[in-house]
Symmetry: C2
Subunit: 363 residues, 2 copies
């Protein structure tokens, strides 16, 4: 258990942007919102999953919407009371703790702001260990946990409560509501008890984000290779270095689709690589070979600073290094890959873990 | 109070199709569903608004979706228990009575089926006295009654509960959910008490539909002029007679838009008229003059049978008579016309009551 203050936010924002694999929106925005809330309401108590009492009711909270919309429209925390009240009405009780649903970008920081506002403790864990675009892609869903009762609330304090036995149905309905809410809703979903937190979440996510943030900050200060340090810390590898020479971007149904072309630099000189992103970076390949795919983490960092380049921030001319790192093992089962593997996103590829790809290359 | 049996359904279906002014879907389909329910569960008790106990909780129920979708996909009553349970969870109690929200087409018949299935009495009233495409267009909404808690349920028993202070927001959110549910949802909304039923609904709607249905049936049997009889009974007038010679139709966002061109016959010979429909028929005009507009009722009937021609059933070559009849006076206020008048639907016209139009012509 510790007290999270505004001084922790910088590192968490840097780390969450990295773990967000391009998605989750602009962490600087999330940091601003969280700082404002912590200044007004004081620090947030953070507990580990092991510290949860058995009768705890842990409620993940987030904003939902395309990163594009989130950047144009500051997510409003105004309706947070209505969000929690609607949840409590539906679930029969108020949550005892909050949690991030994913540790990517804004998604790591909004729960801090909401926890400060409500005076509720936060669990140091998330349900992905990264970011993914759809809500049935969390690890608890793969284990059969229902996303519902799920609540959405908008800036007018309109609330929507969804109930479904099928998390893919919930995703479809929630996405439609979110678009109708102007692509910026506050959401609460996947309520879990202490046992479920221990079994189906990724413990220590907030600490991991903070740790990565500090690593990048220190490497930058010490003129060290931040990308290499990050890759090492998350047991990943730098799979490509290059400059953005082409971008195709479209926003559709609450999603941002980007195809990025990199021209190799440094050790990648003479090659090009293509990255496919759907909110998150999902696949990187050269003319010869696929370098990494979802559900492994594909992280684009600015070559100079080691800071994450989000899907939104991808621009012509940006010099990048691309890190691939292994996802949580629970994402590598056949059942999980049907939901978060390359084919689930429309890429005609089998998943090969970055761990195995590296072994092959070394062998 | 009386017992509604399957023998009442034929006349109600005919009358509701007329009062539906083109909208509300195929009443034959609604009749089938209601007959099935009445056969299985027995007759439904129908009460007048005056017979309601003060602590009654009256819940309008309906299906939501474009008429097109309703015809392709039989509205499923399967999730009716989940619909009512979700409503009771949100409202704190179960309804004591059900009611149609509009008296148009399927909307008049589905509540009969649901009432039979649930064993609940039905109130002989509705909230429009006709049909309109959007849910904030009911008379209680004009008087400030909230549409929420509103519940939507689909064939998978997914439920969605909306809460909003603004019925136009509720419409927008519900429409998005409805489309995501495959454009065929079961809905419950505008819960009202006995006092609100007396103040803000149109009493006797079901009886009126049944009466009109009998009128058409008898006129047809006796080789009388059914259209003229209907027009007279609802204090309307036949404003045009003609054959459909052109149709433009598109379905968009859960709505069916149709522009119909009629070539005059009989007393309208030598003229053409254009009818604009958005689920319902909203405006009819000739080259010289507007003949009638929303919120007055524009009813297209088959010239031979006097049966209503729904927006969906409009076909090239159909010979029609067009009746215009005055809407409920509560729709004629300035505030109401802002919601249901011609400009609310994008037509650059002032509303002139058919009563005044007829007076002008006679004078």
């Amino acid at each position: 258990m510790y007290q999270l203050t505004e001084h922790d936010l910088g590192d968490i924002a840097i780390g969450a942007a990295l773990l967000g694999t391009g998605g989750g929106g602009d962490p600087a925005l999330g940091r601003l919102i969280a700082r404002e809330a912590l200044r007004r309401h004081g620090p947030v108590t953070v507990v580990t999953p092991e510290e949860l009492a058995p009768d705890s009711l842990v409620l993940p909270v987030a904003t939902m919407g395309a990163p594009t919309a989130a950047n144009e429209k500051l997510p409003s925390l105004e309706p947070v009371e209505e969000l929690i009240r609607a949840f409590a009405d539906a679930a029969g009780r108020r949550p005892t703790h909050l949690m991030p649903i994913e540790i990517g970008g804004i998604a790591a920081l909004i729960p801090i702001a909401i926890a400060a506002q409500l005076g509720l403790p936060l669990v140091d864990a998330d349900m992905m260990g990264r970011a993914f675009p759809e809500l049935q892609m969390v690890i608890p869903s793969l284990a059969g946990v229902s996303a519902t009762p799920m609540v959405l609330a908008d800036e007018f304090a309109n609330t929507v409560v969804l109930r479904s036995d099928d998390n893919a149905h919930t995703e479809r309905l929630a996405r439609a509501v979110c678009v109708a809410m102007g692509a910026a809703a506050l959401i609460a979903l996947y309520p879990v008890d202490a046992e479920q937190v221990l079994a189906h979440t990724i413990a220590g996510s907030l600490s991991r984000a903070a740790d990565l943030g500090a690593l990048v900050r220190n490497a930058s200060r010490d003129h060290q290779d931040a990308a290499a340090a990050v890759a090492e810390r998350i047991e990943g590898t730098v799979v490509f270095e290059g400059k953005v020479i082409d971008l195709q971007r479209r926003t559709e149904g609450g999603f941002t689709f980007v195809r990025t072309l990199l021209e190799g630099t440094g050790p990648s000189l003479g090659r090009t690589a293509e990255i496919e992103s759907q909110n998150e970076h999902l696949l990187i390949r050269t003319a010869d070979a696929t370098l990494a795919t979802t559900p492994d983490l594909i992280i684009i960092v600015d070559a100079a600073s080691g800071l994450a380049v989000t899907t939104e921030a991808l621009r012509y001319g940006v010099r990048t290094r691309v890190i691939a790192a292994p996802c949580d093992p629970r994402y590598r089962t056949e059942g999980a890959l049907a939901v978060v593997g390359p084919r689930a996103f429309g890429y005609d590829e089998d998943f090969v873990s970055i761990v195995d790809r590296v072994k092959e290359r070394v062998a």
